[in-house]
Amino acid sequence: MAFVQQSSPHAHSARPTSRVMLWVLIAALPGLLAQTLFFGWGNLINVVFCIAVAIASEAALLKLRKKPVAFFIKDNTAAVTGLLLGLSLPQFAPWWVSAVAVISAIVVAKQLYGGLGSNPFNPAMVGYALVLVSFPVAMTTNWAEPAMLWDGAPGFGETLATIASGQQTAVDGWTMATPLDEYKHKITTHTAAEVLNHPTFGEGVAKGWEWVNAAFLAGGLLLIGLRIISWHIPAGFLGGLIVMSLAFGSNPDLYTPLSLHLLAGGTMLGAFFIATDPVSAATSHQGKLIYGAGIGILIYLIRTWGNYPDAVAFSVLLMNFAVPFIDHYTPPRTYGHHKARRGVPGSQG
């Protein structure tokens, strides 16, 4: 009888990409839960809608590119892109803002570059950045006021109707500036104590946001524990942000304090779920640290001296540009070699 002919190794571990992505989806659930508990149904609706649009546009593009549709849809990567956008868009963002973000992420940033594995930029962040610069009003005025799901938050039906209506701005009483936005704009004319009086900050660091960030941190640690992501990018990311904040912004009467940097806004989601997209990140350990630190530093710079209150998307995209450069200069030292072979062939030994 004819035996199977196969090149070694003959054994394989059973954790395919689809399962890796599934774990990412699962690890994001605590964060989504926290968002829903503290900010109402908006994020959950967004996540479901974005995932649906992501899978639909991925399928359409795969069909156009004459690729096996089911084979690629099953890798769950489109779902993760949809999830990340759903988690990061404002709770009351009109449906078409979400749709534009997801479609540009999947179609332009991912499939037009050659699909999974070939995109130089983080697709979700391309989509996010695009709608942020295109629809600034919709992207800044639709953040939900922190209100417990069971106590004051708009109901599911109302939320869904608001999103589906397609209005640029949601009902005024439901929304509120994000803590980072609020602090950044008020601190120029007020003291820290005055600024923190605003209801968006609540009793703790930033009402609701602190729990959302804590939940994403927990999910991220789960991913590190499962060895789905390495600790290097989050460590670099948070490290960069912390160092910058301590070095330049230690006076809370002038600058946003570190606690807000870490626990308000999209910091933890960015550090553990967005910046760790392997396709568009640096590859070696050292490279990942540099890449993460670059994002953390850029976030601080943009948040403090730039025009945007949160800056995860732009920082990630800017560091995506730097990835080939980082990779060239941070290869690991191979066993049996005195030092790493940096740069490109022929440049040095």
């Binding site: 004819a2 090149s7 990409t17 990567t77 699909g115 396709v279 049996g336």
Partner: protein, 615 residues
């Protein structure tokens, strides 16, 4: 407690070792026929030194390497040499190679053996010779001739001798069972090797998943200085470079050998073979082979004669033919699939996995690389597997080499963990093969260029020599012409002739006159011949000289023409045909001149016999 270091990366695949450790080592017996490949290790193949039809005894040398690196092959049992022909051999290519086939006669009759009781009384070279003559090559990996390995370069003193009992590949238990059952022989072999090398430190490295082997060796090494290092189970801790790192904290330099850092690794099976060669005088004619996998009912280890067809061992292990989907020689991480079970056990064969389809399923289809970096986490050589993959796929071999492609040990850890199930190792083998082919091509091109340049230089030199000869000829001709001219001028001065012919005839007459005068002067007056009879030869003489001159002229013209023709041919000019005709014409002319000359000479001779018998 021996200090241990860790190597980077590594994986923990399911071990599947208990499948084959339940039974003791069984003797596989003598099969119907034995197939003995002439090349069982790296280096040069042996040459058969027996004839077809010859009866050989057990342990008799039947093939040897006369020149080059290699060790002999011995008859594993007594019997008759049936053929020396090509048979399928255990090789990833599945190709056939030269083998001696032996038909056992069932008597298992030994040849003369020369056991050594006290090897310490011998010279080290003598012991090395015994090891070589016993046909021992490394029984774990590539099979490097052991006697050569045991004699490292003079400037590479081995300070640490490591016996590699890690056996990190899943499924394989040949070394494990050997250590359990033949611990004394293992230690005896190690002692011999240590006596040869005189290291400062002797370590046996064993993974902690082999408690019985560890206990057996602890007992066998009691009271000696040999360390038993229990290393954490992690694939590929048994890789030579990795084990050295674990036990010494040192790294083998890229492109170097362990001896460069004063370390040498030897295999468990090799140690046993060395002990048997020295103490029993037994050459390497059998080895322990693990027969395992879910398609055999009684998996376990077999003491199998070298040359035993795998088929024979599978049968002994109770193979379920229909269940075998994949036959792997070696472990599941680095082994290769066999196309046929007819291949024989050779000196490096440690394991055969008869796997069912469920046990080793076909890998899922390859997905795009998402640069997740799991491969880099797993790589024990600290390479960047996904970068190497991109470069190999894009055939950017220069970049792959820059990222140390050739340091890859093909352990398969990266492929094992790849979530996109990319056959990474296959890409690296492809890239390595392509680079080697390119290098060979480059070497060939370089040689061709050197040859071409040498030929060009030779042609140039020949041309110059020819030119030189032609110049010499031309000079000679010019000298002759000048002389002639001078003489003609002299003659012209005398007013006797103006044109060449006249000058010539004048010259001839002058010469005649001189000769005549000379002849008359030389002749004694008493024997003076009457002037009349001397006249006819005198009349013929100028004829001959003229003819001679004519001939030499024609000859030189022919030479000239020939030279021109040669040049024209060398330069492939278009006047070759014309020149050839001219040469032929001149050739005829020379011939005619020669004929005329010889005729004239004959005449002269006839004439001179009458007049000058003493000429």
């Amino acid at each position: 407690m021996t200090q241990l270091w860790d190597f980077s990366g590594g994986i923990h695949p399911p071990e599947h070792k208990d499948i084959s450790t339940a039974r003791p080592i069984r003797n596989a017996g003598v099969p119907d026929y034995l197939i003995l490949p002439l090349q069982q290790h790296i280096g040069d193949p042996a040459e058969a030194i027996v004839e077809v039809g010859e009866r050989v005894l057990k342990g008799q040398k039947i093939a040897d390497v006369k020149t080059g690196m290699g060790v002999p092959v011995h008859a594993p049992t007594s019997g008759v040499i049936e053929s020396v022909a090509d048979f399928p051999v255990p090789h990833p290519s599945g190709m056939a190679d030269r083998c001696i086939t032996l038909k056992p006669d069932g008597e298992d009759q030994w040849c003369q053996r020369n056991p050594v009781k006290d090897y310490r009384s011998l010279e080290r070279d003598q012991v090395l010779h015994i090891i070589r003559d016993a046909g021992i090559s490394g029984m774990g990996g590539a099979g490097f001739p052991t006697n050569i390995k045991l004699r490292p370069p003079r400037d590479r003193k081995v300070s640490t001798l490591i016996l590699n009992g890690a056996e990190c590949e899943p499924y394989i238990t040949a070394d494990d069972m050997t250590m359990r059952e033949k611990a004394d022989e293992v230690v005896a072999g190690l002692k011999i090797m240590a006596w040869i090398l005189r290291p400062e430190r002797c370590v046996i490295g064993i993974e902690d998943n082999k408690p019985e082997a560890i206990a057996a060796l602890r007992k066998a090494t009691e009271g000696t200085q040999t360390e038993i290092a229990v290393v954490p189970t992690k694939y590929p801790s048994g890789g030579e470079k990795q084990l050295i790192q674990i036990l010494t904290g040192m790294e083998v330099p890229s492109g170097g050998i362990p001896a460069d850092i004063g370390v040498m690794c030897q295999n468990i099976g090799t140690a046993v073979a060395v002990a048997q060669a020295v103490f029993e005088g037994t050459p390497l004619i059998s080895r322990v082979v693990t027969i395992t996998g879910e398609a055999v009912r009684e998996p376990g280890n077999f003491e199998a004669l070298i040359g035993t067809p795998i088929e024979h061992l599978l049968k002994q292990a109770g193979v379920n033919q229909d269940a075998v989907s994949r036959l792997v020689l070696g472990g599941p991480m680095m082994g290769y699939t066999l196309t046929t079970e007819a291949v024989p056990v050779i000196k490096t064969t440690n394991c055969v996995i008869a796997a069912t389809a469920a046990e080793l399923p076909a890998p899922p289809p390859e997905q795009p690389c998402i640069r997740c970096g799991q491969c880099a986490e797993a790589c024990p050589m600290e390479l960047l597997p996904q970068q190497l993959f991109w470069h190999a796929k894009a055939t950017e071999f220069e970049k792959a080499e820059h990222l140390n492609l050739f340091d890859c040990i093909e352990c398969g850890a990266c492929s094992y963990v790849c979530p996109s199930s990319i056959p990474l190792v296959q890409y690296y083998r492809f890239a390595k093969g392509e680079i080697r082919a390119q290098q060979a091509e480059q070497l060939k091109a370089d040689r061709a260029r050197e040859r071409f340049e040498a030929r060009q230089a030779r042609l140039e030199r020949e041309l110059q020599e020819k030119e030189l000869r032609r110049k010499e000829r031309a000079k000679a001709a010019a000298d002759a012409a000048a002389k002639k001219q001078a003489e003609a001028e002299k003659a012209a001065d005398e007013g006797e002739a103006v044109d060449e012919r006249a000058a010539k005839s004048a010259l001839v007459e002058q010469a005649l006159a001189r000769k005549k005068a000379k002849a008359e002067a030389s002749q004694p007056p008493a024997a003076s011949a009457p002037p009349a009879p001397s006249a006819p030869p005198a009349e013929q003489k100028p004829d001959i000289e003229a003819l001679e001159k004519q001939l030499s002229q024609a000859q030189s013209k022919l030479d000239n023409m020939q030279g021109m023709l040669d040049d024209a041919k060398a330069q492939q000019a278009d006047n070759v045909e014309k020149l050839e005709r001219a040469v032929a014409k001149n050739h005829d002319r020379v011939q005619r001149a020669e004929e005329a000359l010889s005729e004239a000479r004959e005449k002269l001779a006839a004439g001179s016999t009458e007049s000058q018998p003493t000429h």
